[in-house]
């Protein structure tokens, strides 16, 4: 499969990817390397993993990173309650300590967390490590072994080696600088806000029923809005919400009803100061230019 095929297949599934991104993804798949996606919130980084999983008809395993995330929550954990119950039951039956111990530290008592689950699948899943920049540096370092060796060592059981190599996608919003070691193990793509044509293609793919004129107006409006000085620049998800809101209200032309337009802006503007900044006059002006 060439990268253009990949792009076409993704588009058929509703994910319109830029050329840069598709080539990076194609290489990540063929070279079996993790792919690190960086970019502002709402440009479709997470969605790419979902799209890829749908395309390959495989499981999407998602690890949402946050401050304080540690190995037990990300890799595996022993099922303590079950172990305890087993010990109690064994004690009543008069079973000896050694055999109980062997039993309670077996795979049956292991709770798989996303990373362990990802390397023990029969078909290679898509492993999405979301917002890696939110996790602590220690966790990032822990990830290095898994990403390069695809194996996990459990002291009581031994090393679990991957049956299949998962397709790994990491995303980052750039709230913290990632280590060079992590960056070096990954291919990299910077995902930017889409240009007008791409965004229109995404809109058409996601909202098939949308009128061509309204679609063009919506995209034009959002693109212009991104040039304004906003605290939170609207992403693609917001564009889609905006389109859905307009269609739900039965608005066919952005310039026709300024009051309705102002109401639907809540899908695009997410802070008080942004709302204050985009007054009805400003919105009307932008809509007028976009039309």
């Amino acid at each position: 499969m060439t990268w253009t095929d990949l792009q076409t297949d993704l588009a058929a599934d509703g994910y319109v990817a830029s050329d840069d991104l598709t080539v990076a993804l194609h290489l990540a798949l063929t070279l079996e390397r993790p792919l690190l996606l960086e970019g502002a919130a709402g440009v479709g980084k997470t969605q790419l993993a979902a799209g890829l999983a749908a395309l390959r008809d495989t499981r999407l395993i998602r690890l949402q990173c946050y401050e304080g995330l540690d190995a037990a929550q990300a890799i595996y954990e022993w099922n303590y309650q079950r172990q305890l119950l087993t010990i109690r039951a064994a004690a009543e039956d008069g079973e000896t300590g050694k055999s109980v111990e062997a039993r309670i530290f077996s795979r049956d008592f292991l709770l798989e967390r996303p990373l362990l689950a990802a390397i023990t699948q029969d078909t290679p899943p898509v492993l999405l490590i979301d917002e890696i920049d939110r996790a602590d540096e220690e966790f990032e370092a822990y990830l290095l072994e898994i990403l390069s060796e695809f194996q996990i060592t459990i002291p009581e059981l031994g090393t679990v080696t991957a049956t299949t190599t998962p397709i790994v996608i990491l995303t980052s919003n750039g709230t913290r600088d990632l280590s060079d070691a992590l960056r070096r193990r990954c291919l990299y793509a910077y995902v930017d806000y889409p240009d007008r044509a791409t965004e229109l293609a995404i809109l058409n793919a996601r909202c098939p029923g949308i009128e061509a004129r309204l679609g063009a107006q919506i995209v034009g409006f959002v693109q212009k809005l991104r040039e304004e000085e906003l605290e939170k620049v609207p992403g693609i998800a917001e564009t889609l919400d905006f389109a859905a809101a307009l269609m739900g209200l039965g608005i066919a032309d952005l310039t026709s009803d300024p009051a309705a337009l102002q109401h639907t802006l809540s899908t695009l503007l997410k802070t008080q100061s942004d709302r204050a900044h985009i007054t009805p006059e400003v919105a009307g002006r932008i809509a007028g230019r976009a039309a």
Partner: protein, 393 residues
Amino acid sequence: MSRVSRFAARDPGPAARVSGFMAHLRDNGLRLGVAETELALEALCQIDASQPAQSRRALKAICTGCKEEAEQFDALFDSFWMDAGRVKQKIVQTPPSKGDDSVHSSRDAKGEDAGGSGSANAPDGGDGEAESDGEGRLIATEVRNLMRKDLRDLVRPEDIAEAEQVARRLGAALRDHRSRRRIAARKGDRLHFRKTIRASLATGGEPLRLVRKYRPDRPQKIVALCDVSGSMTVYAQVFLAFLAGLMRSDPTADAYLFHTRLVRITEALRDKDTMRAIGRMSLMADGFGGGSEIGPSIARFAKTYAKRFVDGRSVVLILSDGYDTAPPAVMDAALADLRKRGCKIIWLNPLKGWRDYAPVADGMAAALPHLDLFRAANTLADLAALDREVASL
């Protein structure tokens, strides 16, 4: 546009060209190892490498690692492969030693190079200078700005060593804010008794899961914004040394330069070789000694980088004399915006050390109500004396 670089027919082959490209990227500050060269060759086999656009995208995915590098990459690619910005350069045939495999390692490439009369397809010494026939090396920019100031002339290594001491003390004064409260933590030094007992209910009173707690550090991060406009040139020596020292002593600190533009210099200053770091910084500080737009620069900072790097645990140090060419309202709004992020703002003004100085400049007057601390700083000693005041913030 198909101005693809022509390589001489005697040129040893695509693998050598790719390793030459890697050396070119390294020269321009991208941190790439041998493994990346190998990976790049593998990647080029996976796509149609004869298409420049595809090769560009593939190499971009492999050779870049952050947004800044990704933005820089296209110019670097053009300068090497697309015959743009090329300084005249010859590729001299090198004796093929061990077949194609040899080029996978830069060590071998260096070996080839050692006997030759200098070639562009391999890096030579550790200093990363790609040697050609003494005709210069590849640069990514299209025009070399002769007005650019080499900051290395301004700063001496001794100053930086001294500034490092100062920065370390200042950093320590800010950082060592300890909290009395303990919070639950997996790797805490004490048992969190209440939580442990509570958790043991689920296991029939057996405390299986021991919850711990620790006393957190409340580190303060320093973010330094240094004005390098014309009026500040005389103080640049102190401040640049301070910035360099700060970056070397504090891995969490962040630094920016501004004049009419705002440039993040954190990455450049983290270079292990101090003078090379200053050199890289001079490349970025294009426009050094020009006009000053303090308000707009701070506004730009508040709107972009501050969102990622400034929070309630940050101290923003502004090193400037406050002579702003933009209207004072801009400064007022920018600082108000920055303050909303919960940070402390310290303004160090070299002029304040003068007798009878009054902050009457419009920009400075507009800034004053937003500042937590407004002090003089002409010398490193002034900066060193700050640590006590800073600690009480």
